[in-house]
């Protein structure tokens, strides 16, 4: 699905990604962990084209996406959420998800402008279905900026799913949530996000990684230091050292 070789991304003199090799198989759900500043979010940004890679190769389903613009890459079937929440604050909850259904074929003006056709009706129903599933249905017409944080995280998830991605990138989907809210989020991801697609999850809460992921990859200083099934990797000395050296994982 996604193959990355010797990927380097520099910011000035800092190498946020220092020759990373990384790959995800079709249908897999992969956990991405590592201390703060180890390059996890940068990897997401490079994969989605926000930052072009300094060097190295980046292939999505065999296609080279190293020099593509974000909208190109995203239209190949990639969707993501953001660690520091990014929603369209001045659109309603419904509009946030609805507008995200945009695909390249939609550029036909007919479908853009005319609301109420049958295809359009089906897609509005799909949006309402997603809002129902994520528990946002009763906030449907509120402006998204006024939602509390857990709802905003769920909105990001619904918006990403509305794009029907084949590769979904979740960046700390439970960041800043209470244990109960986290548990709800885990259930959501397990039930509606993971089935039928490839997922990469960045998370500090190791319990979540154990629950959700088939495989874990650990980054430190922009390199991969360990990889494998969650139980094995989380016992690995290098991983523990990388974490304990600067900070302890949240609940491992």
């Amino acid at each position: 699905m996604l193959e990355i070789e010797r990927l380097v991304r520099k910011f000035g003199a800092v190498e946020a990604l220092a020759g990373l090799d990384f790959s995800v198989e079709e249908g897999e759900s992969m956990g991405l962990i590592g201390p703060n500043g180890s390059g996890k979010t940068t990897l997401f940004n490079v994969v989605t084209g926000v930052y072009p890679p300094t060097s190295g190769s980046l292939r999505l389903e065999g296609r080279d996406i190293g020099a593509s613009k974000p909208d190109r890459i995203v239209n190949l079937g990639v969707a993501r959420t953001f660690q520091n929440l990014r929603i369209f604050e001045r659109l309603t909850v419904f509009e946030n998800v609805w507008a995200a259904q945009h695909r390249r074929a939609d550029v036909a003006l007919r479908e853009l402008v005319l609301a109420g056709r049958s295809a359009e009706r089906a897609r509005r129903q799909e949006v309402d279905g997603l809002l129902e599933l994520t528990g946002l249905a009763d906030r449907r017409d509120a402006l998204a900026g006024g939602l509390p944080l857990p709802d905003q995280r769920r909105l990001e998830l619904a918006r990403a799913l509305a794009r029907r991605p084949r590769l979904l990138l979740l960046d700390e989907p439970a960041g800043g949530m209470t244990p109960a809210e986290t548990e709800h989020m885990v259930r959501l991801i397990r039930d509606i996000a993971i089935p039928g697609r490839t997922c990469i999850v960045i998370e500090h809460k190791m319990e979540m990684i154990r629950n959700l992921c088939d495989r874990v990859c650990v980054l430190d200083f922009g390199r991969k230091i360990a990889e494998g099934p969650p139980e094995a990797v989380l016992r690995d000395d290098r991983v523990i050292e990388a974490y304990i050296g600067r900070e302890a994982p949240a609940d491992a």
């Binding site: 979010t41 940004n45 926000v50 930052y51 953001f82 520091n84 990014r86």
Partner: protein
């Protein structure tokens, strides 16, 4: 060839007034990353204060200059409070629009208070133009050029040799980091704004004294010429302001000579447009523009 060279000299002379205007402009932009479009009108208001002092009290050149600078600084403070301090940080575009709105206000105030539109202003010198072989220069222009260079040097010393300059540069570099270092950003930007207004007052005095008269149109002229010169040099770059001013002056002088007066402004705006599209960072500010582009993309 003689024509071309004389045009270049004329352009440099013309350009030194643009450079003078651009210095204050770029100081504000460099520190705040915002554009003060009512910079010209506040200088214009200052010059009208100078004119008032001249007409009412028959004051000499120095008093008129002081009144002009004082007026420009006071109006500058009004603009700073309303359009910059009161608008939250980061809303650069809102500040720009707001300063344009205040521009309308300032212009109307002047047209109401000074209904005759054109007022006399005491000239700087009555010296004759000087000849050097086939070329000639006006004394006022030489004074202006000298002032532009002196102001640049002074500003350079202020920025790189004083504590206040260090604070200014820290705020310009990263307001957040500056705040954690205990720098009072509001105070620093306020002082920078006042400095820029004072520089604008000096520039305004020299330019208006050379013309020997002042009209409300001076505000628009000063903002646009200063803005173009600053943009050409690179927003936020002080040596850029000088070079941008000179470049603008030379291009204008050549276009007046070869195309006619009516093409002067057209060429100036075309030059600005081309720079914006192909080199938005100007001659000197390229790295800066690049950094801002990246900051916009920060996720």
């Amino acid at each position: 060839m003689v024509d071309f060279v004389q045009n270049c000299f004329d352009g440099v002379m013309l350009g030194s007034s643009y450079a003078l205007l651009a210095i204050g402009f770029t100081l504000i932009f460099g520190v705040m990353r915002r554009l003060n479009l009512s910079y010209g009108p506040s200088i214009m208001l200052g010059a009208f204060v100078g004119t008032l002092v001249f007409l009412e009290f028959r004051a000499g050149g120095l008093a008129v200059a002081a009144a002009t600078v004082l007026g420009a600084v006071l109006v500058g403070i009004y603009v700073e409070r309303l359009c910059f301090w009161a608008i939250r940080q980061g809303a650069a575009v809102a500040s720009m629009v707001s300063s344009f709105a205040i521009w309308m206000q300032l212009e109307e105030i002047v047209t109401i208070a000074f209904p005759d539109r054109t007022y006399p202003f005491p000239p700087l010198t009555r010296a004759q133009p000087m000849d050097f072989g086939p070329f000639f220069f006006k004394v006022e222009n030489l004074v202006m050029f000298g002032c532009a260079v002196a102001l640049t040097l002074g500003l350079h010393l202020l920025l790189y040799r004083t504590r206040f300059g260090l604070r200014l540069r820290a705020v310009a570099e990263s307001p957040d980091a500056a705040r954690y270092m205990g720098i009072n950003i509001a105070a620093v930007t306020f002082l920078a704004f006042a400095c820029a207004s004072a520089i604008g007052g000096v520039a305004g005095y020299l330019i208006v004294a050379q013309d020997g008269q002042i009209t409300p149109l001076f505000g628009l002229w000063a903002t646009f010429k200063g803005l173009i010169a600053m943009m050409l040099g690179g927003m936020g770059s002080i040596p850029g302001a000088i070079l941008g001013g000179l470049l603008l002056g030379i291009v204008e002088a050549q276009s007046i000579w070869y195309l006619g007066t009516e093409f002067r402004d057209l060429c100036a705006y075309a030059l600005l447009f081309l720079f914006l599209v192909f080199r938005p960072g100007g001659l000197f500010g390229h790295a800066l523009a690049e950094r801002e582009r990246l900051a916009l993309r920060r996720v």
